[in-house]
Amino acid sequence: MERNFFSSVALTVVMFVFAVLVLFNTCQVNHLQEHVIASTNEVQTLQRAISRMQNEIESGAVGGRASSGRARSQSDDEQARFFAEDEWEALNRPGNLLVPATSSLWAEGAVDGGTLRRAFITDMPGLNPLTNNAADVSELYSYVSESLASQQRDDIERWTPGLAYRIEANDDFTEYRVFLKRGIRYHRASVDFSDPRYEWLQEEREVVADDFVFFLELAMNPQVDAAHLRNYYEDVEGIEVVNDHEFIVRWSESTYHSLVFTFGLSPMPRWLYGADEDGELYDEAEVGRRFNGHWFNQRAIGTGPYRFVRWQQGGSIILERNEDYHGERPPIERVEFQVIRDETGRLNNLRAGELDFTDIQPTQYRNEIVQGGTRGFETGELEHDTYQGLSYRYIGWNMDTPFFEDRRVRLAMTHAMNRQQMLDVNMEGLGRVISGPFFIDSEENDASIEPWPFDLERAAELLAEAGWEDLSGDGILERLVDGRPMRFEFRMMVYGHRPEFIAAMESYRNDLRRIGVRMTIQPVEWSIMLQRMYEKDFEAFTGGWVLSAALTDPYQIWHSSQADVPRGSNRVGFRNPEADELIERLRVTFDRDERIRMLHRFHAIVHEEQPYTFWFAPLEVAAWRSHLRNVNFSPVRPFDQSLSWFIQQ
């Protein structure tokens, strides 16, 4: 075949044109599909509007417009109707650790009914409440089940009744007496009742004290794959059942966290999880082993405001409102969870009207919302909001290295880090610069402590004070260690799959170079990062901690004893006698104001010592279709629980 220059060029041009045509075609088809979906939605909306109008005409009522906002505050009388008379009286008696809720799930003008479609981000192997501890499973159970008490979602200082209406503790908080509400029934199990073998599940059973005993038995059973729970409850001596609706939880030590974990107890029905598919109870010795692979693990049961209906394997999980709920029923009638692992897929589904609510990743936030002009958000069809997540990011300095053993050096590192700029440029502004390890919106965080400012000159001064100077004139600081100069060169481990962190560290490196510090960025896998932290083979790393709104216990991360245990969480080797003492006293201090004072003091210590450069507390982003109203977020997990949301049809 004869080839020449022009035929190659012609071929290239033809291929290019072909590629463009293919691209064009794909776009067109996409566009058409979107149109079809949009028109289907419009037709559905119209149908809904028509049926609503018919209803209104028939009933002669006129619907009020909904206003979105926080949940309405609620009077005691409204609360009281969820309790028996004597229960209500006991709830308000002094000595009870619980207080009545003060807000309603029903916002002004909330509409009853509708289906909320939202997304799970991971595939779940099963729905066992103890052994499947994925975030998505916990979220599901926050709809389906309840614990003894919970924090009011818009006021986390209030512990409001759940299954218990009254919990009292002795003086040193080692004994909790719990009184359960009477007449709370489990949902009917979601099994196929046309099959006669499930006949035994027809009966609706009440929640009794023994269910909590069973929960504890399971949690502490070494055969059960629930190691995460065993940590929390290992100090429980036992549960003493007084009668079906009253029991005593005994803790072996007087600690503050006993309160939170006692309130967090939730019932496990022995008649279900302790029995085989025909209702026969297992042998005592077999329970734990059978529990991990229990036949009911593809389903969920509880007493909560929503009832588990079914889980189409690989597809969506459907919840329906529990019309017999003992508390206030939420406005939305049905919640559907679809598993969509891909973040782009979630947003596309939201656009196409297949989802009502989804989370948004920072890059999506930049490309779709900040840079604007994308479909949906500008037309008002979609809405979005940011909320403060319960976590923070930091740079950890290995205090056992000759670089960062000196407080002044760590402080210099903080001064050299332009945290606000990194947030604005690399994190799309999704976060707030912090000065300490506590939840930024809580009282525990001392708001009067300002984060150290970005100040390269001050950083250089501090380094000079600490004895680092450029001895050889090579532009890199040195210090004499055992008579030999050691250069200020260190490695920064960065989690490799987050380009925005690597990008931020790039600019940090350039700033550090200007004060004579040489930093090498090492993007590594999380597993390698962990291993190197356990082996103390690092100088610095970027990390993050997830916080708990219910309990602030700095022991795990900051106590000096945790610096030397293998695989401890005090990875930077922070050892401070005053901090240690505070941490130990905090564990046995129950007075709220005293705790706050101590936590503020602790905050001040870590701010001065800078074992971490506290970086920022990330803001989370969520987007939803605008017919979803009263969308609000709570600092309590799951942040985006939809109990008080409603759907405007």
């Binding site: 080839r3 890059t363 440029v425 450029d470 004139g473 490799g496 799959h497 990008a503 090498t520």
Partner: protein, 405 residues
């Protein structure tokens, strides 16, 4: 007056002259070759276009200095990795190289052909040694000097001073957020970290080309040695080498590379080169072995053997030059595939994270959903790979006597 051996040499040389004539007729390949030269020139002269250091600097104290020149080789605070250092070395030595080449050529004109060839060989060897020695010396000494922020001084205004910067006052690692000064222009924009995409792309040429050339040199060398030994000696040696080749061929090359990379804690660019080099040798080895099997019983080899020449001499001086054609073709395609492999590795997050490689730029663009950045980096990879492939095709066709025009 030409002797008979000169004549033989001339005829031998004229074989390559024919090939060159044939190659020139393949227009697309011919231009691809120039494109490759252009890419090399870009790689070598990248600091001339963009650097944070001024060519000439006179501060307010009146002292004249030349930070750009000293930064090329003698300041690892500016150019930290070996690839940059090597290309900078070529940049510094390129005028000397050119002059010496021209001198040698004029001298060689008046010489006998065989002497001229020897002179060229010695000349080449001399420069290779110089460059290698200088490179190793620089790598070992690691000179550094402090880095004044020339650009900021210049932007603040020089009352009595004077500064001459390259057209782009940007270093590929600079993270410039909203910093604008005279001469700071982002031709293709910035990435998420504030680094200039164009400058990174420019310096990425160095990474890609050096990976391609060095990795391929490694595996061609291994391939030639093993292939010629196997083909020349035959018998047991042949069986061993061929089995080795087959074993290596059993494993998909890319996964083998991934496995090797996985063993390294911090894979530097040199490791990537070595690993690609250690994996890719099977192709040239088989080609060379085939050629040797064909050539070893031809008369001129028998004659050489009858003259009592050593095996080494017969292999490398008599047979190998005749077997080089297919290897050359293989090498050009090899460079293209090595560039691709490096891009893929960088894209997957392996390889040296500090280097501005094209694959890394592409990956960074993807993870920050920056379409423009992805397209630009992809285009650079596409152009380079295509150029090498086109040149390879040209060489292949030019070497094929059946396709002579």
């Amino acid at each position: 007056m030409a002797t008979s051996s000169d004549k033989a040499y001339r005829e031998y040389a004229s074989y390559w002259a024919i090939v060159w004539e044939q190659f020139r007729k393949q227009r697309s390949s011919y231009w691809a070759m120039w494109l490759i030269f252009g890419l090399f020139a870009l790689a070598i002269y990248a600091p001339v276009f963009s650097s944070s250091q001024p060519f000439v600097w006179r501060g307010s104290d009146g002292g004249l200095s030349f930070p750009w020149f000293s930064s090329l080789l003698f300041n690892r605070n500016v150019f930290e990795n070996g690839v940059d250092l090597f290309f900078n070395l070529l940049l510094v030595l390129s005028p000397a190289l050119l002059v010496s080449f021209l001198l040698i050529r004029t001298r060689a004109r008046s010489m006998k052909v065989s002497d001229a060839a020897r002179l060229h060989r010695q000349h080449l060897l001399f420069w290779n040694l110089i460059i290698l020695a200088a490179f190793i010396g620089l790598m070992l000494t690691e000179p550094r000097t402090a880095l004044p922020e020339y650009r900021e001084f210049a932007a603040a205004g020089l009352e009595s001073g004077f500064a001459l910067f390259p057209p782009l006052r940007i270093h590929y690692e600079d993270t410039l957020h909203g910093v604008t000064g005279p001469g700071i222009v982002h031709v293709l924009g910035q990435d998420n970290a504030g680094r200039d995409i164009f400058v990174r792309l420019l310096y990425g040429t160095r990474v890609s080309l050096s990976i391609g050339v060095i990795a391929v040199s490694i595996y061609i060398t291994i391939g030639i040695v093993l292939g010629s030994i196997a083909g020349y000696f035959g018998g047991r040696t042949d069986i061993v080498v061929v089995r080795l080749i087959e074993i290596f061929l059993c494993f998909p090359a890319f996964f083998l590379i991934l496995t090797f990379i996985g063993f390294l804690d911090q894979p530097s660019i040199a490791w990537v080169m070595v690993i690609i080099g250690l994996i890719g040798w099977t192709g040239p080895a088989r080609l060379v072995r085939g050629e040797f099997l064909r050539l070893r019983n031809i008369d001129f080899v028998a004659a050489a053997r009858a003259l009592g020449l050593s095996n080494t001499r017969i292999i490398f001086r008599h047979i190998l030059p005749n077997a080089m054609g297919p290897v050359l073709v293989n090498a050009t395609f090899g460079v293209a595939s090595a560039v691709l492999i490096e891009s893929t590795l960088s894209f997957l997050g392996f390889g040296d994270p500090t280097l501005p490689s094209w694959g890394r730029i592409l990956a960074f663009g993807r993870s920050t959903s920056d379409t423009q950045m992805m397209l630009i980096a992809g285009f650079a990879i596409f152009v380079t790979v295509s150029a090498f492939n086109m040149a390879g095709e040209g060489i292949r066709d030019a070497l094929d006597p059946k396709l002579r025009k």
